[in-house]
């Protein structure tokens, strides 16, 4: 208990999202950085963003992570992260139903994530080629790239593993039929591969 008390002031000085290398710089001794992180993890004052990743967030009671902090944590942990489905539709004003969880796709098969309100899905690496060729990304939300509404709908239909608003909850006037058709066609080969597996 004494040991954890000694390093708590250091914890207060750390940003809400930080990496092991940030911690090493803060305490200057590499060996103890690992020990300090382990003590904090054990005490439950920090958590790893995803198992086995050297990115952490500070747990502050009554102060959940903001969207900006969750996005920052995702960007530092998963370079391939792209926001999909109802999360993307809601943030572009193409849906009247708000997502309960921020849903994103990554290349990794391991999709465990300890961030509250975040769900990760895995996509094959060809998916990133398809969304580029079909111009399926539009802007970003706190740095996290978002699928266009058309690509979000086509992706949800193809992979069927994400949350989407009801049909009536989508503002179809904001979607282009031509772009939806292009997105659906572009994702079709990946859908076939999924079905074959």
């Amino acid at each position: 208990m004494e040991a954890i008390k000694q390093v708590l002031p250091l914890l207060d000085g750390m940003p809400r999202i930080f990496s092991l290398s940030d911690l090493k710089q803060a305490i200057s001794e590499q060996e103890s950085a690992l020990d300090v992180a382990l003590r904090w993890l054990e005490a439950g004052v920090i958590r790893q963003v995803a198992p086995a990743r050297p990115i952490f967030y500070r747990v502050v009671l009554g102060e959940p992570l903001t969207d900006a902090e969750r996005c920052a944590a995702l960007l530092r942990t998963f370079p391939s992260v792209v926001m999909v489905a109802g999360s993307s539709l809601w943030r572009q004003g193409a849906s009247v139903q708000k997502d309960a969880q921020l849903e994103c796709c990554i290349t990794e098969q391991q999709v465990d994530c300890s961030l509250t309100g975040v769900v990760l899905r895995s996509r094959p690496s060809e998916w990133w080629t398809v969304i580029r060729q079909a111009e399926g990304v539009v802007g970003n939300y706190h740095g996290v790239a978002m699928l266009t509404p058309e690509m979000a709908v086509a992706d949800a239909a193809a992979f069927k593993d994400v949350w989407m608003p009801d049909r009536n909850g989508i503002d179809w006037t904001r979607l282009s039929t031509a772009r939806l058709s292009v997105a659906t066609e572009a994702l079709a080969p990946l859908r076939m591969e999924e079905l074959a597996e």
Binding site: S19, L20, S21, Q30, L34, A37, L38, L41, E42, Q48, P51, A52, R53, P54, I55, F78, P79, S80, V81, V82, T107, S125, W128, T129, I131, R132, Q133, E135, G136, V137, V138, G139, N140, A145, T148
Partner: protein, 203 residues
């Protein structure tokens, strides 16, 4: 002091190649997302970032090729090393001059040495992340025995720390090797020769 290698030790070149492959994967993932963003024409910042990432990937691939050639004892490695050690003085002088008089975007570019060092450090950090997960699991569930896995990761960490501290030549030599081999790869690739894959996420 004699270096005692653990039974779980991995040869240095192989470990370095793992670090390069690991970092290349992350850089290619960033690149895939930036390329997708630029394709939609929605982010002007993407083009600059894509140029930087492509340069990083090309230099890191070149370093990866150097390591694999060194590991298999390629005949041209000693000549390249001699060339690098002779010319590295001029590269070092140039690097110092660049640091004194940074021009525009040059500030944002990582030197080849920093790029490679960062790749080694990234694998070390990730291994430490794995070790933390295992140690925490062991503390929370003492009945389960993770000790063997922890020992393997501890040995790997010791190797990675040694690699980062002693496994890199002078910065000028790293720069020269990366730039020479990057050029060879570009010309050879255009002529149809094959090189270690770039591990692209988005091809």
């Amino acid at each position: 002091m004699a270096v005692v290698s653990s039974p779980n030790s991995v040869p240095r070149e192989r470990l370095a190649r793992q670090a390069v492959a690991h970092r290349l994967r992350a850089l290619n993932e960033y690149l895939a997302v930036y390329r997708a963003t630029r394709a939609s024409g929605s982010d002007a910042h993407s083009s600059q970032r894509i140029r930087e990432l492509r340069s990083d990937v090309a230099r890191l691939r070149a370093w990866g090729w150097y390591l694999s050639a060194k590991e298999r004892g390629a005949s041209w490695i000693p000549a390249l090393q001699r060339l690098a050690s002779v010319l590295s003085f001029f590269v070092s002088v140039n690097l110092v001059a660049q640091r004194r008089h940074p021009r525009g975007a040059a500030l944002q570019h990582l030197s080849s040495y920093s790029l490679v060092e960062r790749a080694y450090a990234a694998l070390e950090d990730d291994t430490q992340g794995q070790l933390l997960t295992l140690r925490l699991a062991q503390m929370q569930r003492p009945a389960l025995d993770y000790q063997r896995d922890i020992d393997i990761l501890d040995a790997r960490l010791a190797d990675l720390a040694a690699l980062r501290l002693n496994g890199l030549p002078e910065p000028g030599q790293v720069t020269l090797v990366c730039h020479v081999l990057r050029g060879v790869m570009a010309i050879g690739g255009a002529l149809g020769f094959s090189f270690p894959p770039a591990q692209p996420v988005d091809s």
